[in-house]
Symmetry: C2
Subunit: 153 residues, 2 copies
Amino acid sequence: MRLDFSVAVHSLLYLEQKQPRLVSSRELAVSMATNPVMIRNILSVLHKQHFIHGVVGKNGGYQLDQQLDQINVGALYDLTIPPTISYARFTTGNTAAVGDGSEISRNIAETLTDLFTLADQEYRAFYHQFTIADLKQDMRQHGYFKSLSAKPH
Amino acid sequence: MRLDFSVAVHSLLYLEQKQPRLVSSRELAVSMATNPVMIRNILSVLHKQHFIHGVVGKNGGYQLDQQLDQINVGALYDLTIPPTISYARFTTGNTAAVGDGSEISRNIAETLTDLFTLADQEYRAFYHQFTIADLKQDMRQHGYFKSLSAKPH
């Protein structure tokens, strides 16, 4: 699933570099070294959110509609990798357990769910610190990100 | 994979509640509402790390060897869900790309990998704030965790 996010980031960076030329999904797929079909799904999401627009037809393609420093990395992450709706698959116990010593079985799923949910919020908050312009900067100068994160926050 | 972590947490909490009685993996499996075989793998990991010890034989079972407030949730998370070794499956581009306009294709994997790696470190740092005793407290009083996280940090 993380690949969806990477495809979105790659698309935005690539369209910015080629401005104002229209870029086809085939060209994007070559740059990403992946297949055009899965790219089109992500491009459709980016289009709906007004990050890009598309021109149909033989010489059609996509163009960027926003500045890279106006696009939040966390917003893009939330869009392409939505939070887990239910942690039921990842928790133990039985909320309907009865009898002696079943307190843990009854209560642990709620506690673990709260733990996972809060951890995921922290995880997403990390991405929300940056814009796509930061990613562009890091591509030119690897380690830029690490230096940002090393600062106290 | 998160289930491994949940099984570990559940095991420690359950063994603590039943101290000093020996607890079989079958009894643990009933409390977890899961199968004994996958539990035994986790118990083996907990045993190797000296969180618990096992007594073999007909009346054998497991016992807790540490205090819950001495067991870090993050340490348990790292143990049961090791960090991703490679993000190659989740990144785009081709590090060997050549020609005009291939800078993004060549460099994006490293940038995305740094981003994912740092985000994962933040995620794990969240878990490292707590001990299993905090989880026990939250089971008695749901919302305890949320109140801890709401504090400025």
